[in-house]
């Protein structure tokens, strides 16, 4: 019987390399273990409580300060310090100092630290992002991460897999973000609970790695355990110059068993927007009231890559417009490498001249941490992945999730807008 990507990768990492099927409980070897400045402090505490002295694999444990870093207050500084001290004590090979790193899900793929065929566990729910490279990557809590730090292993239930097939030519200004928003809108926030999602079809083959990372990033917003974009030439071209070690791509069998198959005809599809307060409250932009906005946030592990900033830069250049002076426009590159690329392209100047606030890489406003927390009643268009109540600040603030073109057009118009209106 054919196997899905999740079944193949789990089998390859299982203790006796045996065949596995959906529903099996399996102990697997982990290739990469990750945690951030919020989850690592508890993971380190739990690790120490387990009574272990050394981490299992110091070369593949990544502790990335990104959420409240650069430290927003004394408490967050103490949390980050825990990571730094632990990384030194344990002789971790990879360090992620502020100024040299950024958001974990932007940095790890960019540096070739997560690779196709890997099994990755991360103390962050958006660890699923690495599925864009063909890795089985899933988020876990701190104590699970501590277990993987100590043993190089974790336990998993082999998930059922849902297959998504996309075809057809959408309208302009439709990106990977719109595909995943529409998908979540259709299957809802628990539509893929405990499941793996395989994204396939001609419309997926044509997506850049940046858009693929955006799609896999939001698998968790449908409740998914992991998601995959099959390995192809685009993956290879991205990974080859970056890979820090050898890797093995896996492919789903043609006769693999899927629990469901979902077909998406994208013909004529408009950009999609998720309205408050849920990522599955999704509507085409033309059907949403063009509300006045107070803040626009362009960044995060969903849409904080170079290609995302390129969309914003092109719109500004093409229209010669500035951002509306009444809107706070926060533009936060997902990593320092993205920042440098944008700087060299002349975009930092372009964004600043247009009235945007460009900052050092951080998660910042995405989780209501710092650098753009919202007041009550405020409206924000954000390129991030969650618009739950209170996510970006006050419980009454309202967040609309959209792609970078919609975000930029809204920043220029001072209200929710489509780039064609400029």
């Amino acid at each position: 019987m054919g196997k899905t990507l999740a079944e193949k990768i789990i089998a390859a990492h299982s203790e006796d390399k045996r065949e596995v099927s959906a529903g099996d409980l399996v102990t697997v070897k982990t290739d990469v273990v990750m945690a951030n400045d919020i989850t690592a402090p508890i993971a380190i505490e739990s690790f120490q409580a387990m009574g272990v002295d050394r981490v299992f694999d110091p070369d593949n444990l990544m502790l990335v300060p990104s959420h409240f870093a650069p430290n927003k207050d004394i408490k967050s500084a103490e949390q980050t310090r825990t990571l730094t001290i632990f990384a030194e004590d344990q002789h971790l090979k990879n360090r992620f100092q502020v100024g040299r790193a950024g958001i974990e899900h932007v940095v790890l793929p960019e540096r070739g630290l997560v690779l196709p065929g890997d099994l990755v566990v991360g103390g962050d729910s958006h660890t699923c992002t690495y599925g864009a490279l063909g890795a089985l990557a899933t988020g876990m809590g701190s104590t699970d991460i501590a277990f993987a730090m100590a043993t190089g292993k974790t336990w998993l239930k082999v998930p059922d897999t849902m297959k998504f097939v996309y075809h057809g030519q959408p309208q302009n200004y439709v990106y990977g973000k719109d595909l995943i928003l529409r998908t979540i809108g259709e299957i809802t926030v628990d539509g893929a609970l405990y499941r793996s999602m395989e994204f396939t079809g001609p419309a997926i083959s044509g997506l850049s790695m940046s858009e693929r990372l955006t799609m896999a990033n939001m698998v968790i917003e449908a409740g998914g355990k992991c998601g995959f974009i099959p390995f192809d030439e685009v993956t290879q071209a991205y990974v080859e110059p970056r890979a820090t070690r050898p890797y093995t791509p896996y492919f789903a069998d043609d006769d693999a068993t899927y629990i469901s198959v979902h077909d998406f005809d994208l013909a004529g599809m408009e950009p999609q927007v998720a309205c408050p307060y849920s990522p599955d409250n999704v509507h085409p932009i033309s059907q949403i009231k063009p509300e006045k906005v107070d803040q626009v946030f362009i960044g995060s592990c969903t849409n904080g890559r170079f290609e995302d900033l390129a969309i914003v830069a092109e719109l500004l250049q093409k229209t010669g417009r500035e951002f509306d002076p009444n809107v706070r426009v926060m533009i936060i590159p997902g990593s320092q490498a993205v920042y440098l690329q944008a700087l060299r392209a002349g975009w930092i100047e372009l964004f600043t001249m247009a009235g945007g606030a460009v900052s050092v890489s951080t998660c910042g406003p995405c989780l209501g941490g710092h650098m753009g927390v919202l007041a009550g009643e405020e409206v924000c268009v954000s390129t991030s992945n969650r618009n739950f109540r209170g996510r970006m600040g006050h419980r009454d603030a309202r967040v609309f999730l959209a792609n970078p073109a919609i975000a930029a057009a809204s920043a220029i118009m001072g209200r929710l807008a489509h780039p064609d209106e400029l």
Binding site: I42, E45, M50, D144, D190, G368
Partner: protein, 168 residues
């Protein structure tokens, strides 16, 4: 293990940002986290919750981020057990790992109302509602999960696996 407690009833898709907003994630202290638990949804919870109370949710309870602070804040508030129609995957693992019992039972969750009193027998997975007199059977745990619960959480479970003995 048997618990008896009053019900705090919530709806579907209770997310971790509502359970404990990110602005409080600068600490890992259970009591401090508990003081802000659920505050964006229900201000009364943190003030009025009593030790042993039971939290009841709908579908996809605990969706969103991987923050272990979410079950820690609920446990820190004194909640003895969470019952829901279904749990988000990461939340499920986190709760089990830190020793906060959770049970999946769509009927028990749907039929419970605020301030009902429930008796939960964890050993056999039953939930009894004192108002209706009905007893419900929760979904059984997979074997690994049972192993973790029996060990008293993932930390002692890991010690067993690694053969580490903690003395004193």
């Amino acid at each position: 293990m048997k618990f008896e407690g009053r019900v705090w009833k919530y709806g579907d898709n209770i997310d971790t940002d509502v359970i404990i907003p990110a602005r409080y994630l600068v600490t890992t202290d259970p009591k401090t986290l508990a003081a802000h638990c659920m505050e964006d949804l229900d201000m009364a919870f943190a003030q009025k919750v009593l030790p042993g109370d039971v939290m009841v949710g709908g579908r996809n309870f605990g969706c969103g981020s991987s923050r272990e602070h979410a079950p820690i804040s609920i446990k820190g508030a004194g909640v003895s057990c969470i019952i829901a129609e279904s749990f988000a995957r990461i939340f499920f693992r986190n709760a089990i790992n830190i020793g906060l019992p959770i049970l999946e039972s769509p009927e028990a969750a749907q039929e419970a109302e605020k301030d009902d009193v429930l008796t939960v027998d964890l050993a056999v997975g039953t939930i009894t509602n004192h108002r209706t007199g009905k007893t419900y059977q929760a979904s059984p745990y997979p074997p690994v999960v049972l192993g973790i619960i029996q060990a008293g959480g993932l930390i002692p479970y890991a010690r067993n696996i690694l053969g580490i003995q903690i003395t004193g």
